[in-house]
Point group: C2
Amino acid sequence: MSLVVTGSVGIDTIETPDGQRREEVLGGSCAYFAAAASFYGPVRIVGVAGEDFPPKHAETLKRFGIDTRGLERREGGKTFRWSGKYLENMDHRETTAISLNVLGEAPAPVPKEYEDSAFVFLANGPTAIQRQFLREFPHRKLVVADTMDLWINTTRDELLALLKEIDGLVLNYDEAELLTGMKNTVAAAQHLLTLGPKFVVVKKGEHGCVFAHEDGIGALPAYPAERVVDPTGAGDSFAGGMMGWLAANNAATGTKSGISFHQLKRALAHGTVIASFTIEAFSLERLSKLTRGEVDERYRHYAEMLHLKDEE
Amino acid sequence: MSLVVTGSVGIDTIETPDGQRREEVLGGSCAYFAAAASFYGPVRIVGVAGEDFPPKHAETLKRFGIDTRGLERREGGKTFRWSGKYLENMDHRETTAISLNVLGEAPAPVPKEYEDSAFVFLANGPTAIQRQFLREFPHRKLVVADTMDLWINTTRDELLALLKEIDGLVLNYDEAELLTGMKNTVAAAQHLLTLGPKFVVVKKGEHGCVFAHEDGIGALPAYPAERVVDPTGAGDSFAGGMMGWLAANNAATGTKSGISFHQLKRALAHGTVIASFTIEAFSLERLSKLTRGEVDERYRHYAEMLHLKDEE
């Protein structure tokens, strides 16, 4: 089924603790999400870049088979830029420079051809714009949103209204705490479930995720990674793998909650696997070389690692 | 098969962030480990208490069916006491008072009747005493040790010697980092494997565990707990569940590495499940009421939660 993501497309400059550095690489939530989702089926993006957006970055997106008709290249505008530096444990980073540029202006228009999109992912962005975007997809069957501390702090009421309009919420563990005031991730996820969404996924980076669904609570570990080169985009590609799998399996209807606990778990396992490739290299370098065979192989290994049944 | 644990028996006073407090409750690594292991089969303890050790605490241990012949009640001595206070997120705690008492004296003698013990767990303690203890069990088939920052900092060479004498090492993630200098838990576990043990388990509290075995690396999430009353003893009961299951399944022989990756994983899943009960109440209060049926039920639920195979 048709999957669309709205979010940022950007140019990143990244430094890692081992002294590596990449300048002006492709980044942004849309890019990571869509590249990840592309392993499962077609994906459309809605985002805005400036006239300085390097053609090679647009080419990279197209090579994934991403539908970029919704990627506006705004004349006279400059692309969103982010520079960051990872701290020693790779779990925390500091932003060394940020320029919103076109991201601070009007959002990109949604192409008419995208109107039939059934699976909608609203990557992190201003809450009011997320709410406006979802209305642009009248045939939506499953809407999932991400958010961040900035919107929790500045547009909480708007965010609470959004929660009633979406099927799923994906956010980081510290954001879940900020939004609920609860230190316990499991309790926070359970509580968020009462505010509207049919499922809530709390991302914990190297510690995996916790998820809440009306049929229960779950947790999955990250795929064990001995070496993390660049964690940028891990969360967005996790969401891309998840939504890509749900769309490919048309997992939005047929149960009261839209998708079953088991479907959600499998989707999250795919997100986990895709994210584990993303962090093996800078930007989209690893995903650019990745094959669906490698994805399936690693998924099988992950499932085997977590297999606890039988022979007792 | 016969399982023995050497470690501390103590009296704890615990405060939690919600204002709850328990005074002079039963604690110590031996107590938590053995109570957890008792759900799988017989378990023996070697530890020393003082003459002030309350008879009700000894009774509690016996009610689990724990063999306490190796629990010395030292005349003229006082029992190890620890007071601690958990900080708001339950992940960190501060020690408000500690008195080693008899724990700072000679260790308890190993009863002659324990000599045939095949499964040996050396709970956290002075490294030299751990090494001395393991020699007291000439029929040992599987020896697993825990350690902590104090010994890593003060008796590192002794600890490196111990690593060559044991089959498995269990330690916290920050201790793994301290011992290896590696921030990445997976890399640290892999590295520790090269120093002697056939398997290494890194405990991450609410984030579960990462484990390294010659046949691969694994990770398991914690059982999702919406409410943690008292995390004291979670790590020791995790180890107790693990060793209890290994001993009950005689998982020490038959493969080159002693136990297979799959056996280790199942043992750790049992440890995870038992620990999830421990934290539901103070001290051994929850384990005292626990039934094997409840353990099996939660294990089934945990296995189902992690089940990713089929129907793709």
